[in-house]
């Protein structure tokens, strides 16, 4: 009996060791992702910190009802979607174009320095970059000075509901495209050079090679990145917007995260904030699932 047990354990041996190595990751997930999920309860309560999660009064869907009654919520959701989709589309396109072009540069040190320069903004926080952006785009900033030079009218970018969204999307793409191009560059390197040689023999132009070899070769990665970014579709970038917005552009710039932060946390309506956050997560899951299904349907690839 005893012998048998030991034997069984012995057989599990090597696998168990590897499983043990997962422990830190599992713990991390458990502590930072699963335990906090219990907090979702507060969305259905009138949460009072002193009474705690299990002592506060249950009010059912009250906070969700209030959320859908708020006239701002439609606006906030649409802002979030527009900004997030804009960032994903433009950011991905820029990164792909950049990586394809960069791949053509044959001089190694030029390539390296270009890369370094475009990676750089990724490593600066929005707290720092926001002041740069504000300086550039304010009424007496360099952008408006250039507009004035060409005889164009000055634009208050940071105080204009027309320009705020493009500004947010544009500056985010500028900050991130270099860094996100890394994966695409890696994808390009993994394409069989024989294909290019063969195409060259057949007389394909540079453009044809890109169109028929490089891009299809990158497709799985593009798809993967696209589907993964969909999880974040309702997180349009708290840091960036929080550091750049002001009451004038709440109308076009307020996203779910900033809204929850202001109304929920600063206004100390914890339950309401949680309700909006939960709403956000549910939409995120639905989108992720459907994107995955669509990917399978049209390209026969999916990520889970």
């Amino acid at each position: 009996m005893k012998q048998g047990k030991l034997k069984a354990r012995g057989r599990l041996g090597p696998g168990a060791m590897y499983h043990m190595m997962m422990l830190p990751g599992i713990l991390f997930l458990l502590i930072f992702s699963y335990i906090p999920m219990v907090g979702v309860i507060t969305a259905f309560q009138d949460y009072v910190p002193a009474k705690g999660m299990f002592g506060s009064e249950f009010v059912g869907l009250k906070h969700f009802m209030y959320m859908f009654k708020l006239p701002d919520i439609a606006q906030v959701v649409s802002n979030t979607l527009v900004i997030a989709i804009g960032k994903i589309l433009l950011g991905t396109m820029m990164a792909i174009i950049f990586s394809v072009l960069l791949n053509e540069i044959r001089i190694k040190y030029v390539k390296k320095s270009v890369q370094t320069i475009v990676y750089l903004p990724h490593f600066l926080s929005w707290v720092v970059l926001a002041s740069v952006v504000v300086n550039m785009f304010s009424l007496d900033g360099i952008v408006n000075q250039m507009l004035a030079f060409f005889g164009l009218e000055n634009i208050n970018f940071l105080g204009s509901n027309t320009w705020f969204q493009p500004l947010i999307i544009g500056t985010d793409v500028w900050k991130e495209f270099g860094y996100s191009s890394i994966v695409y560059l890696a994808a390009i390197t993994s394409i069989d050079p024989g294909l290019y040689e063969a195409a060259g023999m057949d007389g394909a132009s540079w453009w044809r090679k890109v169109w028929h070899i490089t891009l299809p070769g990158m497709l799985p990665i593009i798809l993967l990145m696209g589907v993964m970014s969909l999880t974040n579709i309702l997180s349009a970038g708290f840091d960036q917007i929080y550091n750049l917005y002001n009451p004038v552009v709440y109308e076009s710039g307020d996203i779910l995260d900033t809204y929850v932060y202001r109304i929920g946390l600063v206004g100390r309506q914890y339950s309401f904030g949680t309700a909006v956050g939960l709403f956000k997560s549910v939409i995120g899951i639905v989108l992720l699932m459907s994107a995955n299904q669509l990917a399978k349907k049209y390209t026969d690839r999916k990520i889970f």
Binding site: L6, A16, S138, G159, V248, R262
Partner: protein, 578 residues
Amino acid sequence: MKTTWSMKSKMLTKGLAVLSMSALMVAILAACGDSSTPPTAEEAGKYEVTPGDPFSAYKDEISVTMGRVTTANPKLPAGDTYENNAYTRLVKDTFNAQITDQFEANGEDYSRQVSLAIASGELPDMMRVDSKDELKELVDNDLIEDLTAIYDQYATDNIKQIYDSYDGRALDNATIDGRLMGLPATSLDSAPTMVWVRQDWLDLLGIQLDADGDGAISLSEVEKTAQEFLERDPGQSGNPVGIPFVNTMNTTDYNGSAYTMLGVASTEGAFPQYWMNGDDGKIVYGSTTEETKQMLGIMAEWFKNGIIDPQFGTRTFDDITALYANGQSGIAFGPWHIPDWGLISAKQMDKNAKFSAYTLEDADGKVNVAHANPSNQFIVVRKGYEHPELAVKILNLFYDKLANDKDAATTMPEAAKYQETGVDGSTRPFNIEVNSATSLLDDYSDVVRGIKGEIGLDEVRTTESKNNIGSIKTYLSDMDTDNVTAWSKYHSRINGVGLIDKLTQENKFVWMTPAFSGTAPSMKQTWANLTKLEQESFIKIITGSEPLDYFDTFVNNWKKQGGDQVIQEIEDEIAAKQ
């Protein structure tokens, strides 16, 4: 042999896993439960050298953590910080209590820090909260100490007299269910928001403001002056900017009224954000009245004509202060003490800067003012802090002893030096003011008589006034002085308070008494949204992205989205009191 080893290793790994897991659980559980019970006031007395004495020190050094409200320009001497300065050292020397700051922040950032502290339940031992709302929430959550007995036992007679000068309203505000839950800051009865205008620029351009010399000017005079400043750029900045306003636009707190448009509102008899008695005896929210609409009409017109900063709404408080420092703007709306911490940056950059204070009069030549809430800020003590009486003792030390000790220069030389050199009051452990109801004009009278030599320095009631007399004399003997403290004290006391004094004596003020200043129950849910609605709508109207008639839409929405219910609740509450 090999088997045993790998078995051992497996056991070890497993053991480690179990161990780390349980350590984790212990840590989590420990973080959840906090079972220490606070000692009673008598027990706390055990640590004191003379128990119950308002100024008694502790035998062993104690520590206290604080949430501190800072100022952009505190003028601390080199090397001193908010955490370690003459005032905090004075607390250490007097009580043997070491202050450390749990957080330091300014303006909206401070409110955020307080919100986060409440949400996480990790309060500093003492901090300031800035509304009765927050005070109530802290009490509901059982997070702060009841100070009733401690106040009775420890507060000096002087401190008690100061609070009593508000006929009980000051302490009432901090009292919930009969228990004193915080030490209230006092807010002197308000005065109109003033208009501060660069006098040196007026002189340079030959503009004569306030021809009749009554201290009150009309809106059109402000408008004309702003236009002149814009066209002729007397600050030679190359980039003059119209009058800047903060995007919160309104406040019911006179002291916090810097860069708001309350001054403009007063000319129309509008009181945005105040709860007023309507003509029909019903409660009216000031931001929804016809008068407020008219004010917005004026602001929109001004914005269109560039009288208002074209970047209105996007600038932060500090951005606006910078406009004055850079000589880009020369007209500022704000309270009497704004030269001490805001406009002073203009003097630091430009030796010639001088400001004159005016107030705005309505079409009948009267100045409209609202009575202030006697206190809107409270010092609270974390529940379970072992020495809650220290809060009252610090209050005694700064608002009684330091304020009134005639020999402060010898007994507390370092702190006295701070007062003399005009280091900002925010560097005291509590960034609040505690003064008797009549102190503003009493002090003014002291200062004026002191300057004229009618009374000797030893007859002046407070140390601060004594210092102010010195500073103002310095300024009067040399108006081009480099001494920015002398400059700011002259501006705030003589120009600012002097104007209030003059208008009070001439009976120019028309007072409005607010009908209500508390919080109704449903505001907890709806107020954040209603405030946002108000701010956004006002900005849209002013910047012209919506026409003035959009105001009616705003009022409708405001009522529908919870305003009507709030009004109903307030009416019920008032009816219940009668």
